[in-house]
């Protein structure tokens, strides 16, 4: 479980997050949705520790992350996997080396054990045919899958995904969404996905938080979202033809 309480964050006098309090549940795909510029990426990066909140506290299970020292945070960071919008694979390393990097840095495993673990993760994301390829040689979907493999290689307890299917075709998006959801259930991890893709919301949104102009505007499930009595949320949700059709049914 990840919980944030009364989070405020501003940049150069401009408030981006305003009093956000929300709990993200374990074993579920938690979605943060909102329009571009609404503050959802800042919220995700604050949760993961890339930005310090100006006020408020963040809890990883029972540990208050914001009160920890840099050294203590490192221990929690080893339990965090993150999938960035562009994949953020190290350009100079192959897929295999990218996935192996966390094992090299944080485990004392032998090379054979590391190879076995990397091969398992690559197989899990259906990339076992491409360990020798460099990021520049991969398609968008393959980059995301390699990023997922790297994110799960240390068996994380928390998984963060920043727009995991941006720039992907609808079919590949569904593959990525389903992969993230099945990994979440399989390993019972707390997954937080940042997206503005309504297909993802309707496919895998077990808990949804809607951010609007830096405020938490609404939270609920994918079943609730279609019937929510909230103008800004409705404007966002029903801009998608798919959501309109879903409500029609």
């Amino acid at each position: 479980m990840i919980k944030c309480e009364n989070i405020f964050k501003s940049f150069e006098g401009r408030t981006v997050l305003n009093d956000i309090s929300v709990t993200f549940e374990t074993g579920k795909t938690n979605l943060i949705i909102g329009r571009s510029g609404s503050g959802k990426t800042v919220l995700l990066k604050t949760l993961v520790g890339l930005h310090e909140p100006d006020e408020g506290e963040i809890y990883f299970d029972d540990t208050c992350y914001t009160k920890l020292s840099f050294k203590q945070r490192k221990a929690i960071r080893k339990d965090i996997g993150m999938i960035f919008q562009g994949g953020a694979l190290i350009d100079a390393s192959t897929v295999y080396e990218n996935v192996k990097l966390p094992l090299d840095l944080f485990t004392e495993q032998s090379e054979a054990e590391k190879r076995e673990r990397v091969e398992f993760c690559l197989e899990r994301v259906e990339l076992s045919h491409a360990p020798h390829l460099y990021p520049s040689e991969l398609s968008g979907g393959m980059i995301k899958r390699a990023a997922i493999a790297r994110a799960i290689v240390l068996n994380p307890r928390y998984l963060f995904c920043d727009e995991p299917n941006s720039g992907l075709d609808p079919q590949t998006s569904i593959v990525i969404d389903n992969l993230i959801q099945s990994i979440t259930r399989e390993y019972n991890i707390t997954t937080i996905i940042n997206t503005h893709d309504m297909n993802s919301v309707m496919e895998i949104g077990e808990k949804i938080v809607y951010i609007h102009t830096g405020y938490k505007w609404w939270e609920g499930t994918k079943e609730d979202i279609l019937y929510a009595d909230n103008k800004e949320l409705n404007d966002f949700v029903f801009a998608s033809a798919m959501a309109k059709r879903a409500r029609g049914k």
């Binding site: 990066k45 520790g49 960071r77 993150m82 190290i90 990097l101 090299d104 840095l105 944080f106």
Partner: protein, 244 residues
């Protein structure tokens, strides 16, 4: 104020760079890779520039010292001194600031804007040390070797033009062998070691704090080369005063 702020950020970054690595083995492997990329990869450029500059210095000296009052061997001697004292350390360092400095700043800058550095940070890696320290160690080891290599190749360039008829090759060799002070080599190599640190740390700094888009990375790369070159000049003066 801006200068002090930049200097402060540079010092903080260097503090991070020189903090204890997570695992020495990883840093060792990365240093070997950087030795190859930044060091061995610069040998061809160093050789080409040094051979031509050595040849040109010899021709210029032959024209300037064309008088019966100065022995011909002084041309070889002057070429040797120029190569050892200034060219093979300072001028080669300026050239490497362009090649290696821009390479480092653009590589790390691109990693910053494509969130690769964020990814390392989330893994719990000290990204500054992981990315910059192996480059600093590799260049501080290899650049003095490049300076020594440049001295030899530059003197060989002078010998080539001497053979082409600029002067008697035997006089040129006599000049090279005339009065050798090993402290000059030490002075040159020490300077190059300091320049290697300046080039790598300054370029790493501008790359690491790049933000925005590819235009900003280009700007960071240019700034890194300009600042490195100016700092090389300033430290050349300081070290020459200190070590004379």
């Amino acid at each position: 104020m801006k200068f002090l702020e930049t200097l402060g950020r540079y010092c903080i970054l260097m503090g991070k760079v020189f903090s204890r690595p997570e695992k020495w083995g990883i840093y060792y492997r990365r240093t070997i890779a950087e030795l190859d990329q930044l060091g061995v990869g610069s040998m061809a450029l160093t050789a080409i520039i040094s051979v031509f500059i050595g040849a040109v210095i010899t021709i210029q000296m032959a024209i300037t010292l064309d008088t019966p009052f100065i022995p011909q061997m002084m041309i070889g001697y002057a070429t040797k001194e120029t190569m050892i004292l200034e060219f093979s350390s300072t001028v080669i360092a300026i050239i490497l600031a362009g090649k290696v400095g821009s390479n480092i700043a653009s590589e790390i800058g691109t990693m910053r804007i494509t969130e690769q550095i964020d990814a390392l940070e989330i893994m719990g890696v000290n990204s500054a040390a992981y990315l910059i320290l192996p480059k600093i160690i590799a260049t501080m080891i290899f650049f003095p070797f490049l300076a020594a290599f440049s001295m030899i190749v530059g003197m060989f360039g002078g010998f080539l033009v001497a053979r082409m008829g600029v002067m008697l090759p035997s006089d040129y060799i006599d000049g090279l062998l005339y009065y050798f002070d090993s402290y000059e080599i030490t002075y040159s190599l020490v300077k190059m070691t300091v320049f290697a640190f300046l080039i790598t740390s300054i370029s790493g700094f501008y790359g690491y704090y790049a933000k925005g888009n590819s235009l900003e990375v280009g700007r960071a790369s240019t700034t890194a080369v300009v600042v490195s070159s100016i700092m090389i000049m300033i430290f050349n003066l300081l070290l020459t005063q200190l070590m004379r």
